[in-house]
C-alpha cells in the first residue's frame, strides 16, 4: 500500500548564531492509510515542530513532504490552505476551541471556510452524535470538561474527512479516563483508513499505536 504521508530529509533550525538548534536534521517518515504512528521524544526535541512542518503550519528549511500525493514543501500559501482544508486534520494539546462558539459551532467552523468538504455540515452532525457530544453540543467551551473539549476538537479535525490526522499531545491535558477515551477515538480514526501521527509523552498512547518512533538528534528512529 502506498504511504499517505511521506517525508524525507526534513531540516528545521530554531534560533540564530550560537543559540541555533537544529531540531530536525534529516528526519524521514512514511505513514500508510489506517496506520497510527506514535512519535516520542524528550521535551524540546522537536516533536511538535515535526507535526507543524508535516501539516504545513510551518516551513522546513529542507526536505520533501507529500500528503496524499500532493507536495507540501514549496507549496504556495493558497495551496497549503487547500491541503489543510481537505487533506489534513489537526488535534492540539490545548484543544484550541474558540471561546465565542459553542462546541458544535467549533466543529462546524472547519466546514465554513470556502472549499470545505461539501458534506461538512452533515458530517459535523454525525461526528457530534457519534462522539457522544449531542447533549453538550450547545455549550460554550468554558463549560465543557477537558475530555469533552478534546472530543469536539477531534470532531473538528475530521469534519472535512482528511486523509491525514496530526495529533499533538492530545492526552497531555487530560485525566486518565478522558485520555483513554481520546486514544480510543484516535485509534478508530486510523482504523477508518486515515494515516495518523501522534506526538506524545503518554506511555498509554504507545500501546494504541501501530508503530512507535523516537525523535532524537533531529532524526526519527524505531526502537
Amino acid at each position: 500500500m502506498a504511504p499517505v504521508l511521506r517525508a524525507s530529509g526534513l531540516v528545521k533550525t530554531f534560533g540564530e548564531g550560537r543559540a541555533a538548534r537544529r531540531l530536525l536534521d534529516g528526519a524521514e517518515l512514511s505513514v500508510e492509510a489506517g496506520e497510527l504512528v506514535a512519535v516520542l521524544g524528550r521535551s524540546g526535541s522537536g516533536k511538535s515542530t515535526l507535526l507543524h512542518v508535516l501539516g504545513g503550519l510551518d516551513r522546513a528549511e529542507a526536505g520533501r513532504i507529500e500528503v496524499a500525493g500532493e507536495r507540501v514543501d514549496g507549496a504556495s500559501e493558497r495551496r497549503l490552505a487547500a491541503l489543510r482544508r481537505r487533506r489534513i486534520g489537526f488535534v492540539f494539546q490545548f484543544f484550541h476551541l474558540l471561546p465565542e462558539l459553542s462546541g458544535e459551532a467549533n466543529v462546524r467552523l472547519a466546514g465554513r471556510v470556502r472549499g470545505a468538504h461539501p458534506d461538512a455540515g452533515r458530517r459535523a452532525d454525525e461526528l457530534v452524535e457519534r462522539l457522544g457530544l449531542r447533549e453538550v453540543a450547545g455549550l460554550a467551551p468554558s463549560r465543557l470538561s477537558g475530555g469533552e473539549q478534546q472530543r469536539f476538537a477531534i470532531a473538528r479535525a475530521l469534519v472535512n474527512d482528511p486523509a491525514v490526522v496530526l495529533a499533538d499531545e492530545p492526552t497531555g491535558n487530560l485525566d486518565g479516563d478522558s485520555g483513554a477515551e481520546v486514544l480510543h477515538l484516535l485509534r478508530e480514526t486510523a482504523d477508518e483508513g486515515r494515516a495518523l501521527v501522534l506526538v506524545t509523552h503518554d506511555p498509554a498512547a504507545t500501546a494504541a499505536a501501530d508503530r512507535v518512533l523516537h525523535l532524537e538528534g533531529g532524526r526519527l528512529a524505531a526502537r
Binding site: 500559501e77 493558497r78 484550541h96 459551532a105
Partner: protein, 737 residues
C-alpha cells in the same frame, strides 16, 4: 511594523490638527496681519466733494488724531485690460499722506503722470503685472507700476468694485482737486470712538457722509469667514479628541503586547514610575518626528486653499507666524501621545508581577453570555465587540469623524448650491437687465418670461450707528414674487413704512418685529421704518432691508433701478437672453449668493472637501488600528482558522466582519450626530445672517456609509495580507489554554 503603524496614526492625527490649525489661525489673524502691513487707517470718512483746505481745517482739530490723508474717489469708472473690462471701477486719486495699502508687487506711485497701481484682486483675476497698460476711463492708458493690497474690503471680484489708484500729485496740482475721502489714523485706538464722535460734530454740513472704522471692516469681513473659523476650531477639537482616543487605544495594545517584558522589569526591581518613564520616553521618541511630519503635511495640504481664501478676503497669509501655533500643536500632540502611552503602562505596572509575566489580559474580559453558531463575518463581528470599551471607543471616534465628514460634505454641496442655485436664497428671478420702467411691458411680452418688475436699491447706513451699513431693496409690487428669503420672525411687509430686515442687520442693531429702524441714505436723508419681519439672507451678510417701492422712492427718487425677470419653468433661457440683447439690453444671469461670489464659494467648498478628505484618512487609520489590535488579540483564533484550511479570503472575511461591526454603528452614529448636534450647531453659527439647510441628503449618507464600508474592507484586506505572511504556527503558539 507596529511602530510604523503607531507612527502612521500620530501622523494622521497630527495632519488633521495641522490642517485645522493652519486654516483656523490664518483666517482668524489674516485681517490684523493685512491691516498692519497695509497701515490701514482707523477711520475712513466719505462725503460729497469739498475743497481740501476746508476739510483739512476741520480734521486738524480732531482729538486723538495722529495723521490724516485725503483722496478723491471716482466710482463707475470703466477699466479695460485686453479683453477684460468692468464698468464698476473705482479710481482713487491720492492727494498725499499715508497710503493705507501695502505694495505686494512692483513699486508705489512716484508722482509721475501716467502711472497707476492696482489692487491685488484685479491684478490676479485679470493677470495684470507691473509694466502692463490699463485703460482707465477718460484718463486713457496708464502704466501699471505696482500691485497693492488694502484690507478695507474683500478683493475684486468678490467685491463689486475694482480699485485702482493714481496720483500722489504735487501740492500745486493736488490743491486744485477736491476731496471726498479722508483717511484718519489715531494715536490711541481704544479711544477711536471719541475721535469719531468729534468727527461727526465737525462734519456738520458735509453731504453724503459715511464713516467706517477699522473695527467695522474687521467685523464685516470676519462675519463672512466666521462660520468657517468656528467650524475649523470645533473640528480641531474633534480631531484632537479623536486622535487622543486612537492613540490611547494604540498605546493600550502596545502595553498589552509588552506585558511579559514589563513583568520582567518589575521582577528585576524596576519601580512602576521607572517603567512608566521608559514608556513615556519611547512614546516621545516616536511622537516627536511623527507629529512634526503630520503637522507639516496638514499645513501643506490646506496651505494653498487657505491662501486663496485669504487673498479673496484681501488678507495676508500667515507665513512664518504660523510656526508658533504649529509648535504649540506639536507640543499638544506629543503630550497626548505620551499621556496615552503612559496611562495604560501605569495601570499595568501597578498590577501583581506574576500575571504580567504570563502576559495576561490588561483588561479582564468577561466570557460571552452565550455561545453561538455563526458564519465568518459574524464571528469577526463578535471578535470586535468582545473588547467592549475599545469597540465603543472606536465607534465613537469613527462616528465623530464620519459625522464631521458628513457635515463638511453637506456644507460643500450647500456652498455649491448657493453658488449655482438662486432659489436656495429665495431668489425667484433668473435674469436682471438695466432697463427703464417703461420697457417692462416689452420684457413681459418675451416668450418664456413669466413676470418682470423693477427693483430699486439704495446703499444706506443706520442713522444712529453710522458704522452699520444697510442696503435697502424695493420691488414694484409684491416682492415675494421675486425675492422671498426665508422668514425667521414676524411677517412679510404689506404697507409703506414697513421693512423686512436681514438677520445680520437685526443682530447688529438688536432689531425685532416692532422695532423702529432709521436709515440715512448717501445724501444724508433720513428714512424711518417699522420692522415687521426678520428674514435670513446671505446678501450683504444679512445687512439688508426690504421695503416698499413707494417708501424707497419717496426717500430717494434716484435709487438705482434694475429690471428683474422671472422665467417660466422650463423656459429657454438662451433664447430669452437673445431676445433681450435684440432689445439692446445686457442681461445678467443671477447666480446663488451673488454671481461675483462664485470663486469665493468654490474656494470654501474645496477647503471643506480637503478637510473632509483628511478626516476620511483618520477614519481609515482608526479602522486599521482597531482591526490590527483585534487581529493581534485574536491571533491564535485566526491561526486556528488557517490551520483548519481557511484561505486569506476567509481570514479577510472574518476581519471584514470585525471592521463592519465598527463601521456600521459608526455610520449610524455619524448620521445621528450630524442631524442632532453638528448640523444644528453650524446652522446656529450661521444663523446670524443666513439659513443653512444642513440636513444630510440620502446621497451623502449613502456616500459616507459606503465609504466607511469600503475603508473597512480595505483595512481588512491589508491586515489579512499581513497575517497571511506569517507561518500559522506562530499564531497558534500564542493561543493560551
Amino acid at each position: 511594523m507596529r511602530r510604523w503603524l503607531a507612527a502612521a496614526g500620530i501622523v494622521a492625527a497630527a495632519l488633521v490638527a495641522g490642517a485645522a490649525v493652519t486654516v483656523g489661525f490664518a483666517l482668524h489673524t489674516g485681517f490684523d496681519r493685512a491691516a498692519d502691513a497695509a497701515d490701514l487707517p482707523d477711520v475712513i470718512a466719505r462725503f460729497a466733494p469739498q475743497r481740501r483746505a476746508d476739510v483739512d481745517e476741520r480734521v486738524r482739530g480732531l482729538p486723538n488724531l495722529e495723521s490724516a490723508s485725503y483722496r478723491y474717489e471716482l466710482n463707475r469708472v470703466p477699466l479695460t485690460f485686453g479683453r477684460r473690462h468692468t464698468h464698476n471701477g473705482r479710481l482713487e486719486i491720492l492727494l498725499g499722506g499715508r497710503r493705507g495699502y501695502e505694495v505686494v508687487e512692483g513699486r508705489d506711485l512716484s508722482g509721475r503722470r501716467g502711472e497707476v497701481v492696482v489692487e491685488q484682486g484685479v491684478a490676479r483675476s485679470w493677470g495684470l503685472h507691473p509694466g502692463d497698460t490699463l485703460e482707465v476711463g477718460r484718463a486713457g492708458g496708464l502704466r501699471v507700476v505696482g500691485v497693492v493690497v488694502s484690507p478695507d474690503n474683500v478683493a475684486f471680484p468678490l467685491a463689486k468694485t475694482a480699485k485702482v489708484y493714481v496720483g500722489d500729485l504735487d501740492d500745486e496740482r493736488s490743491e486744485r482737486i477736491p476731496v471726498n475721502q479722508t483717511l484718519l489714523w489715531v494715536n490711541d485706538r481704544s479711544r477711536t470712538d471719541i475721535t469719531l464722535a468729534a468727527a461727526r460734530t465737525v462734519a456738520f454740513g458735509l453731504g453724503d457722509l459715511s464713516f467706517i472704522t477699522r473695527n467695522g471692516v474687521r467685523v464685516t469681513i470676519d462675519q463672512a469667514a466666521g462660520v468657517v473659523i468656528a467650524l475649523l476650531v470645533a473640528f480641531a477639537l474633534v480631531a484632537l479628541v479623536a486622535a487622543g482616543t486612537m492613540l490611547a487605544a494604540g498605546a493600550h495594545a502596545e502595553v498589552q503586547r509588552r506585558l511579559p517584558g514589563l513583568g520582567v522589569r518589575r521582577a528585576l526591581g524596576f519601580t512602576p514610575a521607572g517603567v512608566v518613564a521608559g514608556h513615556a520616553r519611547s512614546a516621545l521618541v516616536l511622537a516627536a518626528p511623527a507629529a512634526a511630519v503630520g503637522l507639516g503635511l496638514g499645513a501643506l495640504a490646506v496651505g494653498g486653499p487657505a491662501e486663496e481664501l485669504l487673498l479673496a478676503l484681501n488678507q495676508r497669509p500667515a507665513g512664518a507666524a504660523l510656526l508658533g501655533p504649529l509648535a504649540l500643536a506639536w507640543l499638544v500632540v506629543c503630550g497626548v501621545v505620551v499621556a496615552a502611552a503612559s496611562f495604560p503602562a501605569w495601570r499595568a505596572a501597578r498590577r501583581p508581577i506574576a500575571p504580567l509575566l504570563r502576559g495576561g489580559e490588561l483588561a479582564n474580559r468577561r466570557p460571552p453570555r452565550r455561545a453561538s453558531d455563526d458564519g465568518l463575518l459574524t464571528m469577526g463581528a463578535r471578535f470586535a465587540v468582545a473588547a467592549r470599551a475599545r469597540w465603543a471607543g472606536s465607534v465613537a471616534t469613527i462616528g465623530v469623524c464620519a459625522g464631521v465628514v458628513l457635515l463638511m460634505l453637506g456644507l460643500a454641496s450647500l456652498l455649491v448650491q448657493l453658488r449655482d442655485d438662486p432659489a436656495v436664497l429665495g431668489k425667484r428671478y433668473q435674469l436682471t437687465v438695466d432697463a427703464r420702467p417703461e420697457q417692462l411691458d416689452s420684457l413681459r411680452a418675451i416668450e418664456g418670461v413669466q413676470a418682470a418688475t423693477q427693483r430699486y436699491t439704495v446703499q444706506a447706513a443706520d442713522a444712529f450707528r453710522l458704522g452699520e451699513p444697510v442696503r435697502l431693496v424695493a420691488y414694484e409690487g409684491d416682492h415675494v414674487r421675486f425675492d422671498a428669503p426665508p422668514l425667521a420672525a414676524g411677517r412679510r411687509l404689506r404697507a409703506p413704512g414697513e421693512a423686512e430686515v436681514g438677520q445680520g442687520l437685526a443682530d447688529a442693531l438688536g432689531l425685532r418685529p416692532g422695532s423702529p429702524l432709521a436709515t440715512l441714505d448717501p445724501r444724508g436723508r433720513e428714512l424711518r421704518l417699522k420692522v415687521v419681519g426678520v428674514v435670513r439672507a446671505l446678501d450683504d451678510s444679512g445687512r439688508i432691508a426690504w421695503v416698499s417701492a413707494p417708501t424707497l422712492l419717496g426717500a430717494d427718487p434716484g435709487g438705482f433701478g434694475q429690471s428683474v425677470l422671472r422665467l417660466e419653468p422650463g423656459a429657454d433661457r438662451p433664447a430669452v437672453i437673445d431676445r433681450l440683447r435684440a432689445l439692446g439690453l445686457a442681461p445678467v444671469t443671477v447666480g446663488g449668493a451673488t454671481t461675483r461670489n462664485t470663486a469665493f464659494l468654490g474656494i470654501l467648498a474645496s477647503v471643506l472637501r480637503a478637510v473632509a478628505l483628511a478626516v476620511g484618512l483618520v477614519c481609515l487609520y482608526a479602522l486599521l488600528q482597531g482591526l490590527a489590535m483585534t487581529a493581534r488579540e485574536r491571533r491564535g483564533a485566526l491561526a486556528l482558522l488557517r490551520a483548519c484550511g481557511a484561505s486569506r479570503a476567509d481570514v479577510a472575511a472574518v476581519l471584514t466582519g470585525a471592521a463592519a461591526a465598527v463601521a456600521l454603528p459608526a455610520a449610524l452614529a455619524a448620521v445621528v450626530l450630524e442631524r442632532l448636534v453638528l448640523g444644528p450647531a453650524v446652522t446656529r453659527l450661521a444663523a446670524s445672517y443666513a439659513a443653512l439647510p444642513l440636513r444630510p441628503g440620502a446621497a451623502q449618507i449613502a456616500a459616507v456609509t459606503v465609504g466607511l464600508l469600503v475603508l473597512a474592507a480595505l483595512a481588512a484586506v491589508a491586515v489579512a495580507v499581513r497575517l497571511a505572511r506569517e507561518p500559522v504556527v506562530h499564531g497558534l503558539r500564542e493561543e493560551l489554554p
